[in-house]
Symmetry: none
Subunit: 307 residues, 5 copies
């Protein structure tokens, strides 16, 4: 096991060896094995955005096995999906790639300003499907946040007791903040902190903008002259906000965008000390060979093989 | 066992042999045995719409035994009903036809824009009544959807552990969408996807119209030129949305309608790769001999014995 | 055992011999033993309406033993009451008369438009008190109905497993319907159906009026020309709605009224095929000897000894 | 469903529809479907006698799938085996043939005069493997019999609650009787009675000899002139001893023997009113084609197609 | 994943993806990864024989971390040990090598002719320590065997439900057989069969001698001319006895012996179709470099890189 992986594991001293082993499994799989960097394939968009919006751009993605295979071929560290998608391939791909069971999910057929996902899987589901971790989304800034925090408290406790790792998607959204505020640097940093405080081993946030949402925060950012001009600086601040870098923070790719811009973003995440990316639509909505090439380049950036 | 039934079973690799055996039982019963096609008789309207609206058009249907006998005589794959109706005939018809216990039901004496059925049966009820599967209704687009998703998560997990199959009725309805949207192609495809992601083995949806409800979806349907002009095309899209056809999707007959129109619909379901129909009012509200003739013709269409 | 009692028992094929024996016990006790007709004394008004409103008109009724003795002396099939009333006499009258423990009750010191009774007893209480059945009230049309349906689902399952019978009081009430609708023929028939679907062995409803509450139902009643002009016709329709007469349906006496009118009502219930009456205030609020005489006459009507 | 199967089911009035359905499933499968006669393939000899003694005579039998396929091809009513053998084929043969999970087994590497098998499976194992029944061996006459009786009491109760049937192998053996006594007519009849009293739906005993083991019994057999001269007479007596023929009694083939002698025995079982045979070594130790021919002839005898 | 690993996984159709993934993990780790062959390091001798007898020959072995490191450096598929030994290194070596928690162990400070190990760990211990499998020893031929069989029945069921694999050490020993009989070919084959019937995924037995212990078995071995002259032939027979080779059977090295003799034995296991070796004392009692060399040669034999 590489020194870097050992170092990262050393941050999780309260966890039992089962959870550590599963964290190690994720870190030791794929093209980035041993680097302490991550590229994870998440495919929950079928549930979150509907099948056509998710899979019509690259129709093989309607088949749940496609994503297991894509994650495997691309050398991702892990593949994350809701119950049904994992049930539909976990036996066929048993033991081939670390799995993360997304335990809550929202659809877009209902819901108002304050999102609250439904719990759609259990820790025992994760065990029977051979997963290394559970995944859970919180929406800080939603009026329903306490319900989510309470759920992950319980699910996280059970997962840790049974030797699984806990991944929290922390997406500020809801009546508490503005739309622009969802990716504001103060809010994203805060979201990372909350996820860590809730006991996450791995935190997923969105790349932050230079906007500052909260007046009280704004004063401090200005007074302390926290550098947030570049994305790399902002990433550095978010990582710092995640227990001074002692929790794994990865960044979502967000909506499909220009490839060059995407790589630019990845470089900034790398340079700011981010641990990696979780890339859904930008990978599975491209034709397979293009996606493999794309993910290879992302991994090369993280691995330091490319600028 | 037919090659087709084996193929369908192969899609459910995460399930234990008990659940597979019960899926096989449903597929191997009745006139469509072995074809991988389904015609299921559901009779939950007594609970959902009240007795007179349900049974006055054909009064023998007030007697719970009538429906067991009808499903059996017609050669349906299974008969689905709530607790009371199954309790009233399960001993007399023990072992004669696969049964599905509907575990939640709504009445129309109460309830607002956002439906949420009551849980009216348990997995242990299904075992003691000799059922092959549990049935459960979700209403995506209802503000109460999370409660339903949470309930089926728990009931589905228990059912699978005890060797039963899981059938989800997925009917978008509620304040999240318009009345027309309930059968919109994007919404029905989405409803099928959600049911699959929640772990259903068999999904029941309504035949979709060409209407597209969600603006974000509309863009994709147009950009990707997803063919939805004919019902067969729309069925094909829904089946694709159910894990690329690797989950069983059947279609409800909806409200009583003209027989010729009904057969036309069945042909479109067949041609679009749908797995079959679940036909309640259109069968049990006709006089028995007429219903048998009607169901025979539906099955002939699915079996390829009739155009 | 009479042929009629045997016939009635034959409808409950999913039940174990313990439950059947308790059903038989109720049917074979009192003046109507063996007829398949029922007169049951329920005294839950102390809880539901308060003591003075309930017992001041006939003060011996403050004493819980009074009602055991009244039911026994009158030759009722069973006596139904909440936990406290049964605890206060069950030992003294052990084995003398079948008992029904009312497991939920509402008081009138609180509560709004949508009633939801408290669960005030358990199946194990019923066993330790020597009861033959549990009783449970549902209020279809209450916004809280799902909670009640879920409770009786669980309690009914347990009662059946432990060899007890299940009696459901099905009283539509709440924001879903009008005051007049509570006794509308469509609503009462629907209420009977719901109780049966929830697994009741015995259903108690109110005598229905000729009013039709629901527009969708009205169309069917008119189109199918369902006869509902006389009370006997309406009772017949309600009995039909209770699994075509294969579940025991009894009728409450409702509010205290003129004796002649009451007997008229009983005759209509009898002529419409109703199984009997459950008579509270009309019996225990009269002086004892008058009540005995009154109940004797009701039973004579049901037994066919009186017009 | 045939009148005979209905008649047999009518004997089990205390059972829930789930158990009845599973009994029906066994009676309605294979070449004897609907006749109320049984030929069951049991393969527990690998555990009970060791692999070489069991499978060396026909080596394909080392493969667990062989026996599923043999039972299926031969048209047996069911296949019975211990946990491991069922786990090794239940998914591949899901839904193809009713399965019986033998829940206790003895090996011959240890044990004295008083056998007591180990419990090697559970009712939940039976559910997850899709079984219709549990099987259990008791050794009346063993000093350890109470332990076995207690185990089956508990397992049988659970199986019945969960809708499974209960098959008891009743083999008197132990310090309580002589070797010859194990198949004595009084002892075999007694063993059948005990199994029925313990709640078995199906009882398996050995074909009895004319020997009478117990002095107290001998007096009665002689005084009452119970006919036991021929095997048919003895079978009739055993069937009578199994609740006057209201429990299903089947007979083991015992050790491999001459084919003609075997058929003679089967004819006697049939003529004496026995319900069928459970044939292990005599079927799976022959070459496959010979076994199929052999079982076909046995079934023809039971079906009345052969003398 | 190699075709051979896929083939082996296909034998375990009743297992969930979690268990399959853990089986795959063991097969895909170390120098024999992907070959379907195994070399496992077990260190339970500290418990079973005492520390000095176990570790004095190579004192670094007193340190629990030594064995993790040895198994890892040697490229073993897995490391198996009791609770304490795993607790003492599982965090430090988290995720580096598949672990097997031995759930029962005997000491030699007590106990008579009929061994019965104590249960010293739980399935939840295995989860919290990050294990891929539980290990359990049975002693067929011990008078206490039923207790062990019952324990593994329960533990195995729980392990499978929670996604772990089950390894059974099957060592005939006790008053039922002679000392020589413990490794007799009939007894070892029988022991393998019993472990498979109890639901083991992986079975560990001792290399058998040509001795035949049981008279009843002897007749069959002679009559059927089962080849047992060479160790390779005997291994072949044992593998056949483990569900015709459809369960993984590995062989213990037994007592420390001459290296050349050991390799000879390994070659015979390989040539007989055995799946590998579980080598304790022969590895950890040698100096580390010698042990690494020794294990490398063993693996080369299994990998076909050496004769």
């Amino acid at each position: 096991m590489s020194a870097r992986v050992r170092e990262i594991l050393s941050w999780y001293g309260s966890d039992n060896p089962g959870t550590l082993a599963n964290l190690a499994r994720v870190m030791n799989h794929g093209r980035l094995a041993g680097t302490g960097r991550f590229v994870i394939l998440p495919v929950d968009q079928g549930f979150e955005h509907g099948p056509a919006r998710s899979f019509a751009p690259n129709p093989p993605g309607y088949d749940p096995r496609y994503h297991f295979e894509l994650a495997l071929a691309a050398g991702c560290n892990a593949y994350a999906a809701p119950l049904g998608f994992l049930e539909a391939g976990a036996a066929e791909f048993a033991g081939e790639i670390p799995l993360i069971l997304k335990l809550n999910n929202s659809d877009t057929l209902s819901g108002g300003a304050d999102p609250c996902p439904a719990v759609t899987g259990s820790v025992d589901d994760a065990l029977r499907l051979g997963c290394s971790a559970i995944g859970f989304t919180i929406y800080p800034a939603s009026a329903a946040r306490n319900e989510m925090y309470g759920q992950i408290r319980e699910l996280g406790h059970e997962a840790k007791r049974k030797g699984l790792a806990v991944v929290i998607w922390s997406y500020p959204r809801g009546s508490g903040i503005s739309k622009e505020g969802e990716t504001a640097i103060d809010v994203v940093a805060y979201a990372a902190q909350i996820a860590c405080q809730l006991g996450a081993h791995i935190v997923k946030v969105k790349p932050p903008t230079a906007h500052i949402e909260q007046a009280a925060a704004k004063k401090v950012y200005e007074k302390e002259r926290i550098p947030i001009a570049t994305l790399a600086e902002r990433v550095r601040h978010v990582v710092q906000s995640a227990f001074n870098g002692r929790r794994i923070v990865i960044f979502s790719g967000g909506e499909a965008k220009d490839t060059a811009a995407f790589f630019e973003e990845v470089r900034a995440i790398r340079d700011g000390g981010g641990f990696g990316s979780i890339i859904g639509r930008n990978s599975f909505q491209r034709p397979r060979s293009e996606a493999l090439d794309f993910l290879r380049q992302v991994m090369d950036i993280y691995a330091g093989k490319a600028k």
